[in-house]
Amino acid sequence: MINFTFDGKAYEAQEGDTLAAALLRNGIGLVGRSFKYHRPRGIMTAGVEEPNALVTVGEGGRAEPNTRATDVFVYEGLVAKSQNRWPSLSFDMGAVLGLAAPIFSAGFYYKTFFGSAKRWMFYEYFIRKAAGLGDAPTETDPDRFSQRAAFCDVLVVGAGPAGLSAALEAAEAGKRVILVEQDSILGASLIRDPQEQDEAWIDATAEKICAAGGRILTRTTASGYWEHDLVTLTQRIAEPGQVPPNGVAQRLWHVRAGEVILATGSIERPMAFANNDAPGVMLSQAVRTYARRFGVVPGKRIAIATNNDDAYKTAEALRDAGAEIVVILDARPTSAGADSGFHVHNGVPLSVTGAKHGLKSVSALVNGETKSWNVDLLAVSGGFTPVVHLHMQAGGTLDWNEEAQAFVPAISRQKVKTIGGAANPEPIFTVAPVSNPKKSFVDFQNDVTLADVDLAWAEGYRSVEHLKRYTTLGMATDQGKLSNMAALGRLSEKQGVAVPEAGLTTFRPPYTPVTMGLLAGAGARDAGAPTRRLALFDIHQAESPIWQPLGYWFRPRAYPKGRETLAQAALREAQAVRTTVGMTDVSTLAKFEVSGPDAAAFLEIICATTVNKLAVGRGRYTFMLREDGFVFDDGTVWRLAEHRYLLTSSTGGADRMATHLSYVRNYLCPHLRVSVVNVQEHYAGIAVAGPKASAVLQAMIGEYPPRHMSTVPAAIGVTPVIVLAASYSGERAFELYVEASHAATVWAACEAEVMARNGSLYGLEAMEFLRIEKGHLVVGGEIDGRLTPHDLALDKMLNKAGGYIGASGLSRSALSEPGRKQLVGLEALEGTIPEGSMLIRLEGEAPQGHVTAAAFRIIEGGSIALGQLVDGFARHGEELIATSPTRNQRARVRVVHPHFYDEAGERYRD
């Protein structure tokens, strides 16, 4: 015995029960309420197609709303609650909506609630509250979800007799086989209709498949068929709401299969008659499943309505279980079933009575007369819909099988084939519904009736897609598994064409709904964005810096002391650089070693500046253009040896630059004798800047450091380093590049020398202050992908010989017309310049530019900024307003030259 609760009341289930079986076992017929009219609903099916019996299972962060009671196996302590009802399931105020059903016809909301958008939002508030199904969760999920790849020669979907046999055959032929079954046990139809020896055969077959190396996954649904025979499987490791054994609740498999065999069977169809949605109306095979597999007979006086032979097996099963078969309504005109031994009438159901307290009667049209019987269960079989979803997702086509009145797989586009019942459905005989269309439900969950289909037709929504969208047919959580064929039948009747000509909506993944946490996998915690850690992470962390994200990287933004704010710390750090010396971690800069006889030629294609005149041991600033002529990155290039260069560029653009270099080298210039190696992570970088930087360097490397824009190889102790004399801050400065595995030693040595000179560590914020004051550019700020070298005042550095990427783009006419934005400096006359603010001449005028970066003069104080301004080069001296309405900040500014500090570059000299 397994204990569970439903709506707070305790019940007992048997081992292996689905929640639906357990509820029926406990005599519970009313399980849920419909979406629109809140009509009482029970359990209709025994599978994933269930439209009605939706409950919330589990509690807290594990609660799963809208769980089909037919698709959860009861475990000890399971907690289930009914949904979409208030105050209770049996007395639901929402049911008054059902009284107004004549108004709430298909698409009614398109025809009313006019007026302003605000007025619609007023109505919408109530509509939204009434809609939805289960309550939204509010807590964080405590469990993990795994995503795993798998490869096989043959993937078999469905472990019924056909699937098991196919899997066995493939496994014994030495193929890698995966067999999946959405149920908790194997057998499928063999469980519903067991013959002698079936159980033993299932067990033996499974054993042989595993012995041959095959993998069998139960509680696993093939939910999506994608390109090139990739199938996604969703595996339940724990049941909904259940605490998983190892913390992993579900697993998503991405299976690449050599061949896919679909043995997915079929889904029984309901019939359209009045009140066909009432609790107590169930599908015939479902009733049989409950009786045979679970030993639960959900009625005592039972009617069966059918258009095929299969339902007679249900009658037999129920009779064997001791129930009374009051009548069988067989839609077929001949004397089908006459010798079955049951009380058979050749007719179709018209309506049923009774609802939330159970079914009372069924009436039917028999030979033109209406007859009625008292029953408490009606089992219906309207035929069978082959499960062709995966075949169709794979891009296949369908054929119409007239005998079965069903679509079956025709041409397969990928390496997929369908076998068993899904390919060969049973013959049936369809009769057009004769009941009141307003009460005859087609889509049970969304409350779509035959009358709604008729109305959509009358209003011109005649393509099957319009019908679906106008009525919401097939858009409930059961994804139209039960409704689509009934609606299609009605539509083809209206159109006066055969069903296949009425068209079909597209089959798209997923086959059954998939838990979002499973799709996210481990990414639910990091948004699928890995974190990149500096080689010197531990050293920085010991200083408790403020970290700043930059792409996937995190870099120290400032190292506050005591109770310093970010701004105070950054200013102190920047002042140290201006007055003594500072050091910072620049390891994340993109770095490429470019070697070979053609290295310079290659770099002259990449860089818009000259490279080949660079002497060994020298370096220079450079920038790169996209093919359209806009600047997209900048950096430095150094000639380390005759045939060896080091190229640096921005952190944020590192991956983009790596791809760009590779494309140019391999696709455009495969003939060049050059090797381009990404050494971004190989070298950690430490920048030392300030009036005392030379002294620090000399103490470390034991020789006078190279002059500005020169490089030497050196050693600190036994550790080799590359010293680049480059400056971003505007001071005499060096970058030390050292193999990342030795970076800690060099950092420590450097820190000792810096501190000995009363220097400081500095972070990105101080670096930003320093470079703004110096008028240096940053990628993502001034270099925003929309400006040319001319706009950024870099045109004098362009390689006059051309030949670099982007030269053609630069020649376009609009790029040299007046009205372009150009780089300017800004100094505040009044107020502090807000970063990102708009530059306007007068309040109310459209912006003429914006502030790309704002800072303070580091020593003298005073607000300064860099910006982009229309025709800015010609506007030095003009006064403007830098305004930020969203922050309610503004400053009066003067347009100036964008170099606020040491324009002549005196400070680069010792």
Partner: protein, 418 residues
Amino acid sequence: MSRYSALSLLRGAFNGQKHWQPAWRDPEPKAHYDIIVIGGGGHGLATAYYLAKVHGLKNIAVLEKGWIGGGNTGRNTTIVRSNYRQAELHNLFEFGLKMWEHLSDELNYNVMFSPRGSLTLGHSDADMTMLAQRGDAMRCDGIDAELMTQDQVAKFEPLLDMSRSARFPIEGALIQRRGGTARHDAVAWGYARAADSLGVDIIQKCEVTGFVRDGDAVVGVETTRGRIGAGRIGICVAGNSGHVAGLAGLKLPIESQTLQAMVTEGVKPMLRSVIQTQSLHCYISQSDKGGIVFGGDPDNWPSYAQRGNPIIMEQAVAQGLALVPALSRLRMVRTWSGVTDMSFDGSPIIGETPLPNLYLNGGWCYGGFKATPASGWTYAHTLATGKPHALNAPFSLDRFERGATIDENGSGPMPNSR
């Protein structure tokens, strides 16, 4: 056209909803129209409507190869907003947003425009500066935008993960309160019904297979339902622009890519606004039916297949769950994808082509739905007068070769890097 109202519905309740007429006719194509719009999506139908309504033209046809609203109009995430950084873009989209605010009344069809707020989250100071810059640009041009603090965001959308240890902590947001969502199908149907009532012929199942030329000039179309002559022809088939323009021998700055979206099973209200973010690439909102609608990046390679890569969707879901952890146990119930026209600066193209009488409206990337009224209005102006309206003048086809691109992201001409 019989008017829709609460009263007409009530009347229907008593007569079994039997008095409704088809929302649009099903006419046979005529031999010649003054203007033919190719494409019966929202944009094409809106164009036809404004040609009839604003410009008083009578002899107009919309040719649709399948069923109206069946392309990207019916395959998006229904977001409406005008919060762009670049002036040309926010001016165009704001013009549209103002039209959305009265569209249901204008069309006598409830398009369910619901201005519940377009919330763009920032995850760092750098993000917040970018958001402020965007908001400031909008405000200076008279468009609503507000910055929100962490506390305000937490109060506005309580299920967002506001913890400081989050991978992408939420530092604040930019909100455009007038942004929101609308019912996508209703937009196509509403424009179709209104255009039809003004005499526009909406011809479904009529695929254009070629252009009829008189020298350089285009004077008609070949279709699966025969040759149809026209004074001017407007291509309006975003997703298939390259294909249709190719029939006229034109090559465009457009690459088609697949964009996927999905929705979860319905739950009671949990999110009020449309959530987007500055650093990530997912957008989330809750539909009136209660489903959580999710969108993400396009598949970054050319495709006309309305099928996507599951990994792209999984990435969008991962990002969404990192922002709203309570979504974890909801279930994705439906996915769909559309083919988008990825233009080479991320902005649309509305204007003339090098061929006389032939015009192009396309290149909407993944942002066309919200532009529907503005796109239709400006395109109608262009088709009726032969000259662009001031709002769409910057979005000319020749801007690429001239260098006058409108690049919101600054990411350049490769659509896959956008």
